[in-house]
Structure formats: structure tokens, C-alpha cells
Symmetry: C2
Subunit: 364 residues, 2 copies
């Protein structure tokens, strides 16, 4: 029963964006444990009479229904990577707020909530989407769950994801592919190693290939992307006196959106073609999204918020909106360089700046 | 209470060596869980009036006290590596007994018990040593525990370890050294991998060096040894979207007895000197033992049992007796090539052969 009962934490949407970000960080919501935060967000939104609110699992969607000519989606995930001794949040004297999720992306969620609370009659109808499990395997992603169960909740002419972009508009995003490369051997007592065959030694060409890999930096729609091919895990060994018969290297390929998921798989297969891989298993994959900045809705938004667009390196759910036919960009206050780091932080000034630009655009 | 209460399993020492081996295999005794088997051995030995029996932990020592001019130690460990779907034992129609520990070394333990039961008035005083935790870290070894607590229990003129040697006398043994090689990097989101530094990629030169390593095969006292340098474990990775900041390769060096433990460490340091190792930690070490076949007691034994001596590749407690000043050899019925393997087995004929040769030597 305790698991399904709503928790009692409440959020005060009259706080300014920075204080609200701090309040969100102080409700821990590592992927898979978002319920208390989703409950608090749902309760705060239900108190706003101009919004209708729906919920699916730990995903919350709120909408205005003003019959405007255009509908804009403001979306953000409410989960974080594991806490690294950086909760509760801490505001320093230089106006920097530190803590897990400050950048990625509770400052963006705070901006969504502030717009929801303070723009009751926007010039475009608004849909606010708060979702879970973005920092883990793609099949768990809350936005994907909503798209499956209630695709109508996500319809719109244009979407803004408040992922960390340091107040820059970011077009498109890179794709991500995770593959497990398995090498095999034959067990033997390590005192008579020549009777067996060492699967960890067999992984040497894979690591050498990774260490020597030169990533592409293609330019698409005027934006320069930056790929990466990295081992994110390695595991092998049976016992300390046994020649191991298996080693698994988990590789993550982040690729520019001029490549399809199929092309990405083909590329990784080719990179390791002559490295003695016994088994190649696709563990997780999500395609990228082309910038799409030439779309009229994207162009209007660009003009309103100013600045020039940048490429997005990290995979974001821009790609998911893209697949649903909703043009989307990233635009949020966090600094992506500090996402997932122990010293994750956000500049308070960026939170206010982002909130003001969005409010101006939606009120003009 | 249950943990210290003697278990009820009993051993019948009137069974022949093969049936007794099967009975020993069918009492599982993976390292750390030897108590039921130690209890059964102690009970069986206490029933023999010509022996005095002592116990220390799960180590059992039995002795004749006939005032003979010479004392011989017959020693064996009672633990096994983890069971791999190969218990209970199975005797096939070709006279081969299959199962965990058949070779390493419950067939040797069966021979010890048969000699203890059937040679009440040997021509040399006998000490039978049954000990635990040989298959795990050196500091847990039961023979080492006895040597620390009751060194007088191990005194003797000559020792025979019934480790698997396929009925050949094996002189000396190789040393073993286990080292953890740590590489380091800097964490970053894998979408922006150039912000960090990959510790798994940094292990590439270590694996390349291991894969290319050419082991020595030195000849000592006419016996050719065969070294080996192998990864027995590798571990790295923080999360599937994080550039890892640590990777640890566990390496096992098996070296010929012309090298001291200090020389072995120096050699391994030199092998990996230019491989970017951030930390080098010695995890476990046990020096080898020179063959010592020129010792009079060893020579007399060789003459009695026949055949020519062979080098011992695996580390055995011959080295421990050597350090106590007791010349020692390996001589047992198991086949060392099948030790620690799923298809571990022993030829019944080898068990009888070994038992008969020892009985003849001790009765002549």
C-alpha cells in the first residue's frame, strides 16, 4: 500500500525559478524512484484551475485548452542519474546552485512549472509533459510510454525540451547505440595456462581499436556534431586461478544524425570486424534527429528567443518528438558540460533568463 | 550450535581406494565449507588405535609413534574448487571416476586414508595431514595455519604431497604471484566523451602486452618448467552512459623456482612498466620450491616408487614444507591436466597403483 499512496511532499510554484529548482533537487528522483516527485508535481498542477491534468505511471501531462491556432509542448524528464554526494542542493554566494539534477534537468523542470503557474492565458495552447526514466535504457523512457499509451497527449505544432543547453537553442541530437562485444576462450588452471585460451587477452584488439578510434565531426545544417565510440564497461574472469573463457566489452557509440540506426550498427560492426569478436549483441539503441531548424515553427521560436542554434551531442527526446512528427528543439538553463558529474551545477541567472524568454514568447 | 556440532556422515576405510574416493567426492567440500568432511575424516581416524589424532580448525593430523629412525609426512588438502555440475561422482564402465575433486585431490586423500588404515606398523613413522582452504588465497591455507599454530605437528624427514601428478614424482613447484593493475581516467557523459578520459581504453596496452607475452621454459635440475602470465580478471565501468574512470586487470604470474618472489614482482613490474599502470598492488604471492631431488630422502623415495621425476607447474604446498626445512615431492593418482575442469576425473587404476607403491615403500 505504501508504494501507491501519494506522498506528502508539496511544491510551492510561487517560489522563483532558482528556489523551485532547489526544492526539486531536494526531492531525490534517481531513475526508477520518481514517484514522490511525480506526486508533488501532479498535486501542484491540479491546484491550477486553467490546466487539465492527466497521469500515466509516474508521468504527468497538463494542458491549456484555449482553442489557440497553435499548440506548443514544453517537456522535461524528472529523473536523475545516481546521486554522488551532491544532494541536498547548495546555493553559493556567486549565484551558482550545486547538486544532482541542477543542470540535467531540474532547472528546466522548474522553468516548465513556473510557466505553467504564471502564464494562465498564453498566446499558444500549451502542453506540459513531465516524465520518468530518461537516464536509463530507452525502453523504460516515460515519454515513450506516453507515446505508446496516449499519443494524443503529445500532439502539437512544436516542442521545446528543457534539457541542459545553457540557454542556447540546440537543433537535432546525436543517436546512441550500445553493443556488447563478447570474446571467448577455454578455461584451464592458470598454472597450466597453455591448456586453455584466455578470453581477456582476446579482447586486446578491441581495446586497441577503441583507444585508436578517431571520431567523425560532420557538419549538418551548419551545425558541427562530434561523435564518440567508447567502452563503458568490461567484465571477465572466473576465479583467480582460472584462465577465463569469456570477456564482455560494452561499447557506446554516439553518432551524428546524418547516420541512421542501421548505419550506426553497420559502422560499429565494421570497426570491430577483425578484432576476434565471438558475439555482437545490440543492447540499446535510439536514433538521432536531424536539426530541422528550417521548419517554420522552429524558425519563429529561434527569432523570439534569439541567439544562434548549436548542435546537441547528447541523445535527447527531441528524437522521440521528431519520430511523432512534432518538430522539436532543446532549450534549457542547465550546462550540459556538467551533466552527470559530481560537480553538477546551474547558474541561477540562466534559470531566470530561460524563464523570461519563454514567458515573453508565449505572452507577446 | 549447528555450525560447531559434528556432522553425522561417516567414512568406511575398508572400502577400496576408488570407492573411498567416490565417498569423499560425494561429501562436498568447496573451500570454506570443509567442516563435514573434516569431521568424517577425524572420526574415521580416531577409530584406528595405532594413531594419535589432533585437530586445529578443519585441519586433522594423525601420527604413528613407533620410535622409527625416520618420519615421513603424507599430506593432502580436503577442499575443492566450486562444483560445476559434477557432483555426485560417477564411475564409468572404463574404470574412470568423474567428479569435482576426483583428481585434485580426493583420490590422493583416499590413498592417505587407506595407508593410515592398512599399514599399522610402518617401517618409518608416519604423519598424515588433512587440511583446508588450499584452493583459495594463500593466507587462508590450512597447512599454513598448522605451521603457525603447531609447527611440531609437521616435523619430518621427508614429505609426500598427494597432489595430482598421474603417478609421477614431481619435484619442486612453480611460484605464483597475483597483481592488480589499475588504470585511471576521468568520468564524463558518454555523449561528450572528449570531456573525460577512458580508463578502459587505457588498459589496452596491458592486454596487448599480455597477449604478446612469451613465457620462459627454464630447465632446473634436469626438469623443464613452463611459466605463464595471464589476466584472470578484468573489471571497469560506472554506468552505460558514463566514461569510466577506473579499470582493474588482475594478473596471475606462474614462475619457475629459479626466481624468488622478489624477482617475480620485479619481472611483472618490468613487463608493464610502459603500459600506463596507475597503481600496482600485490594481491597474493607464494614462492616456488626448487626440485631438491638430490636430497637423500627424496632419492630413496624415487628409487622405491620408480619412474623419473617431472617438474610441477601448479603451485603446491611442497613450497610450504620446503620453507619448514622438510624436503617434499608431489606424488598422487590424479591427472593435473583435468584439475579445476568440468570434466575432472581420475583413473581408478592410478589410485590402486599409487596406494600399492606407497604401501610397498612403507612396509618393505
Amino acid at each position: 500500500m505504501a508504494d501507491t499512496a501519494p506522498s506528502e511532499t508539496s511544491l510551492d510554484l510561487t517560489l522563483d525559478g532558482a528556489a523551485l529548482t532547489a526544492a526539486l533537487v531536494d526531492i531525490p528522483s534517481v531513475s526508477g524512484t520518481e514517484k514522490p516527485l511525480a506526486d508533488a508535481i501532479e498535486r501542484a498542477l491540479r491546484a491550477l484551475p486553467h490546466l487539465t491534468v492527466d497521469r500515466h505511471g509516474n508521468n504527468v501531462v497538463a494542458r491549456t485548452n484555449l482553442g489557440r491556432a497553435e499548440r506548443v509542448v514544453l517537456a522535461g524528464h524528472i529523473d536523475t542519474v545516481p546521486i554522488a554526494d551532491n544532494v541536498p542542493s547548495r546555493l553559493d554566494e556567486d549565484g551558482v546552485l550545486w547538486g544532482c539534477g541542477t543542470s540535467d534537468m531540474k532547472s528546466g523542470v522548474a522553468v516548465q512549472l513556473r510557466i505553467a503557474a504564471t502564464v494562465p492565458a498564453p498566446n499558444r495552447d500549451l502542453t506540459f509533459v513531465f516524465y520518468d526514466n530518461e537516464e536509463v535504457a530507452a525502453h523504460l523512457n516515460g515519454l515513450g510510454k506516453i507515446a505508446e499509451a496516449h499519443p494524443d497527449w503529445l500532439t502539437g505544432d512544436f516542442a521545446v525540451l528543457l534539457e541542459p543547453s545553457y540557454g542556447q537553442v540546440e537543433g537535432g541530437c546525436q543517436g546512441t547505440l550500445r553493443v556488447k562485444l563478447r570474446t571467448t576462450g577455454e578455461r584451464a588452471h592458470s598454472a597450466r595456462s597453455w591448456m586453455g585460451s584466455n578470453a581477456i587477452h582476446a579482447a586486446a584488439p578491441i581495446l586497441a581499436r577503441l583507444a585508436a578510434y578517431e571520431p567523425r565531426k560532420p557538419v549538418i545544417d551548419g551545425l558541427e556534431y562530434h561523435e564518440g565510440l567508447n567502452a563503458v564497461g568490461i567484465e571477465g574472469g572466473v576465479a583467480t586461478n582460472v584462465i577465463p573463457d569469456e570477456c564482455v566489452v560494452t561499447v557506446n557509440y554516439r553518432y551524428a544524425p546524418d547516420r541512421s540506426p542501421e548505419q550506426a550498427v553497420a559502422h560499429v560492426r565494421e570497426v570491430f570486424a577483425d578484432c576476434g569478436v565471438a558475439e555482437f549483441v545490440i543492447d540499446d539503441e535510439s536514433g538521432g534527429a536531424l536539426p530541422g531548424l528550417s521548419h517554420p515553427a522552429a524558425a519563429a521560436f529561434m527569432k523570439a528567443v534569439g541567439g544562434s542554434a548549436q548542435p546537441k551531442f547528447g541523445w535527447t527526446d527531441v528524437a522521440r518528438f521528431s519520430a511523432l512528427g512534432v518538430p522539436a528543439v532543446n532549450y534549457g538553463p542547465g550546462d550540459p558540460l556538467y551533466a552527470h558529474k559530481r560537480d553538477e551545477h546551474v547558474h541561477v541567472e540562466r534559470i531566470h533568463h530561460c524563464e523570461e524568454r519563454l514567458r515573453d514568447w508565449l505572452s507577446e
